[in-house]
């Protein structure tokens, strides 16, 4: 097949869902940092979210599988640690999709302060942190004082 353009590859990757939060893609999350052809090899640079994220290995496999499915014969995944991933790299579309999925998107300056974040369900600002660690390392557990629902908050990093 003809060598696909870098733009085409970004489009394909935008269709690779995060294994734990399938409503957002790996591109939404901002973990795909670079796509480029080096000779006959397609090099995709990925920055992991959390070093302890169990999904990291799966994400790598999913990206490679997607590229092969699209006919790329020589994809090569490179891990880049510096600069480290930050929640500021999550796209605005990704943030909106997180919220629609019931996960409060990260709020600047709310790294580990435990300050309230808006409830993704009813929008109330009256919420409280139950635990700094939620269902995965990237999330904290919160509770809404108004609608009484518990929810996950995607921690600001």
């Amino acid at each position: 097949m003809a060598r696909p353009s870098v733009e085409q590859v970004w489009d394909w990757l935008a269709g690779v869902p995060d294994p734990e939060i399938p409503v957002v893609s790996v591109v939404d999350l901002g973990i795909v940092r670079d796509v480029e052809w080096q000779g006959e090899e397609l090099v995709v640079t990925v920055t992991p979210t959390y070093s302890g994220c169990p999904a990291t290995g799966v994400i790598q496999l999913d990206i490679e599988a997607r590229l092969r499915e699209c006919g790329v014969e020589n994809p090569r995944l490179v891990r880049r640690l510096s600069p480290p991933w930050t929640t500021a790299w999550i796209s605005s579309g990704g943030r909106a999709r997180l919220e629609s999925w019931g996960i409060a998107p990260p709020v600047e300056g709310r790294a580990s302060t435990g300050l309230p974040v808006p409830c993704p369900r009813c929008g109330s600002g009256r919420t409280e942190r139950i635990s700094e660690f939620g269902s995965t390392p990237c999330k904290a557990a919160y509770r809404c004082v108004d609608c009484l629902e518990p929810f996950d908050y995607f921690k600001c990093l």
């Binding site: 959390y50 640690l81 700094e132």
Partner: protein
Amino acid sequence: MGAPSPDADLQAFLLRMGDSCLILGHRISEWCGHAPALEDDIAMANVALDLIGHTRLWLELAGEVEGAGRSADDLAFLRDADGFRNVLLVELPNGDFGNTLMRQFLFDAWHVPKLRGLSASSDTRVAGVAQTAVREATYHLSRSTDLVVRLGDGTAESHRRMQAALDRLWPYTFDLLDVDDAETALAAAGVVPQAAEVAGAWHDHVEAALAEATLVAPADGPEHRGGRSGFHTEHLGYILAEMQFLQRAYPGAVW
């Protein structure tokens, strides 16, 4: 970034970081399904996951620096106790939940300034790992500090247990803050932070938190050292026996 030639000092230091994260991660994963509350159970498992994630990064780099083709798994599963360079504190048994938290607090208070310093390492590979790890370790420290203060300044029973844990663990903090020639040389080259800087930050944080927790560090008593030379407590062998069993019994097993 260029790959420097194999460097024994750096290799030893990377093993110290990786092994400390590995053994503590393994230790606290023992709480999975046993912690006093669901949130604590999940938090403990999450911290363990983070630490195992750090382990992978440090040991991969240790293997790369060594240049003998050993992977992170080879280093984790195929070394004996005297080859491990972890700080002694992390291999001590969990004890009760208060003891586990006190151990975590004393470790986190060292881990965070250490990683902060390493984030500015002159070795870009070291800096990359530290920049990722430090943000997670900061969460760990904020949680363990909060719980140590709440339990220390809690009921008479929780106070008694936290003070007992502090008395039991304090002698091992000398090993935690210990330095050797290899690390002094690395600090001079800007690869790792100055030991005094890390120890100063540790003392500042620990003393302030203990005061708030109404806990008192022992004024004198034994000072244990030896982790960085491979002299461990009797507890490490038992951890390795459990952790390494599969790879030792079925070499090369994968799934």
